[in-house]
């Protein structure tokens, strides 16, 4: 039992971090960023290149991932999303753009980093074994703690800094924020950069444990979509809740349902659909996103 909870917590921490970036971008610009998973993969490959190829310390790789993705996010917002949002008749058109960017990043990742699975050596060795009740490798604990620290840092940033307040205002009401003197363009860019940076950081963190390959992008996006649906799209607390809930569901489901074969994920997905039928806005979302 303890083991299941520990697994769920670890999974939840990494999931929540992935979902945060996605929900931030969604709340600011009403864009469902299909390329979020690809950004995560890109971040992982940057860390891999810095750590495994160049032989630099892990923390350098992590910072490099954050920077590269932040710059990428800012550029994507300024040169792609902004003009398209301005010109298109329907909000949904940005989905095509996001999907195009996802394909584009897939292609770039394949050309730059190749098709193979990559990984970096463990950053700390050893396994915590508490009386056979909880078995958890130390590197996993470290990554889990780092992920939670990053989540806390992100919340602090959103609560206590000027940029954070501006972005929250934007998320609540774009027009009102603009009238109150918030520089919408500037903070949309910062928000997008921040969201992309979070994706890159998760990639950098997880490359030490699960490794990275170019196929992980799409499914990661889908999982992140599910998390923000559970919690409520565009709500920070919702993304965190969604991440931890999905993590727990997987951990518990895989253990309890393992005897029945292939149905764990079917059960998770199906229950999600039923849940949304009853509560369309998720746990904490505004109605109609």
């Amino acid at each position: 039992m303890e083991q299941i909870l520990a697994n769920g917590l670890y999974l939840g921490a990494q999931y929540a971090l992935i979902a945060l970036g996605l929900t931030l971008i969604f709340s600011l610009m009403n864009v469902l960023n299909f390329a979020h998973g690809q950004m995560y993969v890109f971040g992982g490959f940057v860390t891999y290149t810095v750590v495994a190829q160049l032989g630099l310390p892990f923390i350098v790789g992590l910072v490099a991932s954050a920077l590269v993705l932040a710059v990428m996010g800012a550029l994507i917002e300024v040169f792609l999303f902004r003009p398209v949002i301005r010109k298109s008749k329907r909000d949904e058109s940005t989905m095509l753009l996001a999907a195009g960017i996802a394909f584009f990043l897939d292609a770039v990742i394949l050309l730059l980093f190749g098709e193979k699975q990559r990984g970096v050596p463990k950053i700390v060795g050893g396994v915590l074994n508490w009386d056979m009740r909880i078995i958890m490798p130390y590197d996993r604990i470290l990554i889990g703690v780092l992920a939670i620290a990053l989540i806390a840092g992100f919340i602090a940033l959103m609560q206590y800094t000027k940029a954070g307040r501006a972005m929250r205002a934007l998320a609540q009401d774009r027009v009102a924020a603009q009238l109150m003197g918030v520089d919408v363009d500037r903070y949309s860019m910062i928000g997008f950069a921040l969201g992309a940076m979070l994706a890159g950081l998760v990639g950098g963190l997880l490359v030490t444990i699960t490794g990275i390959n170019l196929g992980m992008g799409g499914p990661t996006s889908v999982k992140a979509f599910m998390m923000i649906m559970i919690g409520g799209a565009g709500v920070i607390s919702g993304a965190i809740a969604g991440g931890f809930i999905l993590g727990m569901m997987e951990s518990i489901g895989l253990t309890v349902l393992s005897a029945y074969g292939d149905i764990t994920y079917l059960a998770i997905f199906a229950s999600l659909m039923v849940f949304l039928a009853f509560r369309p806005q998720g746990l904490m979302g505004k109605p109609w996103g």
Partner: protein, 395 residues
């Protein structure tokens, strides 16, 4: 005046050399061989190693003057099509091959694609070499597909038997991704293990291919305390993570798979935790590789920057196609002649030391010779490289 002559003669010389160059180039007729498989997107690794093996070998043949078929030297051209792992695209790819007049195609890489292209291949007289295991592709009335590798229902029993006899394995557990190919392989593997008298302690656990933490997946399996954990149809991306999670959970038994793996990927992803991991590979270990195999690896590395050990098993299909056509040049355009030759064809295996043979097998599994005979080389991983555990033959 002089200048003009110089100009003229230079132009003439240039034209002449161009002509000669062209002639030298056109001297060899071109034999086109197709590849339909996945080289982009999530499963890019499967097709890419496949396509690159073919291109490496083709460039090598062309560089050394072409492939001798019936006294004529042919240059080999590889025509590739990326099916994006979509069976509907795979059909389009096969149609394109037919349009280009190609009769021999390597691929597709997965079950659904291999089944979907069957009607097109049969209507257009194309023989194709899928890397997919469903028996109905190779059993009559199907006759145009040739299995390009050793199937898991052939390698699995050999491995289990070896481990029963040498390591005292009694209890086996299976884990597979919830996709067609791995699940089918799990079912046939489990059946084979049962037939050998092994106790199956778990064969219902599955995982999503995008799993980032395998601890919860493996937890219930490890609790059943198997002696051998089989990773059915595991993709090279998932293998290191599964091994690592199992070891970190304290699993001390053996871990094996029936698919080909890459040593570098295992080393990066699992490090020394992967030591002792058993997988099926080609004849590239130092004890078995012939000089030609070593040269192939060199050329591949030069051409694409990095070798992929999965190519050890994927080097063979093109070699079989060419050697069989050479044995009966009529087969170049007539697949029925090719099929007839398959029954008797035999040639030395250039990639392996010793007197191994290239020939078609499969009578036991499919009732007809619709499988290339590649040595069933079972490897163990040890500190970043594969070592040969044992070698067997499939009939």
């Amino acid at each position: 005046m002089l200048r003009r002559t110089v100009l003229k003669s230079t132009a003439l010389a240039a034209a002449a050399s161009f002509g000669m160059f062209g002639a030298a180039f056109a001297e060899n007729p071109v034999l086109k061989i197709g590849f339909v498989g996945v080289t982009s997107g999530p499963a890019a690794a499967w097709g890419t190693s496949n396509q690159r093996s073919m291109e490496t070998r083709a460039a090598w043949i062309n560089e050394t003057g072409g492939y001798d078929i019936g006294g004529t030297k042919y240059d080999i051209e590889i025509v590739s099509f990326d099916d994006q792992k979509d069976p509907k695209r795979a059909i389009a790819g096969m149609e394109q091959m037919a349009q280009a007049g190609i009769h021999y195609v390597v691929g597709p890489n997965v079950d659904d694609g291999a089944a979907a292209v069957r009607p097109v291949a049969e209507q257009n007289g194309i023989i194709y070499f899928p890397y997919a295991f469903p028996k109905e592709l190779y059993t009559a009335p199907a006759s145009n597909a040739v299995l390009g590798m050793v199937a898991n229902y052939q390698s699995g029993p050999a491995i289990y038997k070896y481990l029963m006899e040498n390591n005292g394995v009694k209890k086996v557990a299976f884990v597979a991704a919830n996709e067609s190919d791995p699940l089918s392989q799990r079912d046939s593997g489990s059946a084979a293990a049962k037939a050998l008298g092994l106790e199956i302690v778990s064969d219902t656990v599955t995982y999503q291919v995008d799993t980032t933490d395998f601890t919860p997946v493996l937890l219930p399996i490890i609790q059943t305390a198997p002696d051998l954990l089989v990773l059915s149809g595991v993709s090279p991306a998932n293998a290191p993570q599964l091994i690592r999670s199992a070891r970190e959970l304290g699993f001390t038994g053996l871990i094996s798979t029936e698919t080909a793996q890459d040593a570098a990927v295992l080393q990066e992803g699992a490090g020394e935790l992967a030591n002792g991991f058993i997988s099926v590979g080609g004849a590239s270990t130092a004890e078995l590789a012939s000089d030609q195999m070593k040269e192939f690896v060199d050329r591949y590395t030069k051409m694409f920057g990095e070798y992929n050990d999965e190519s050890n098993t994927k080097v063979y299909a093109l070699e079989y196609i060419l050697a069989t056509i050479a044995a009966n040049p009529a087969g170049m355009t007539d697949v029925e002649a090719f099929k007839a030759t398959m029954d008797t064809f035999e040639a030395p295996n250039p990639y392996m030391k010793g007197d191994a043979k290239l020939k078609y097998v499969g009578t036991t599994s499919f009732g007809q010779k619709r499988q290339v005979s590649v040595p069933l080389v079972v490897n163990t991983f040890n500190n970043g490289a594969f070592e040969t555990l044992f070698v067997a033959q499939v009939d």
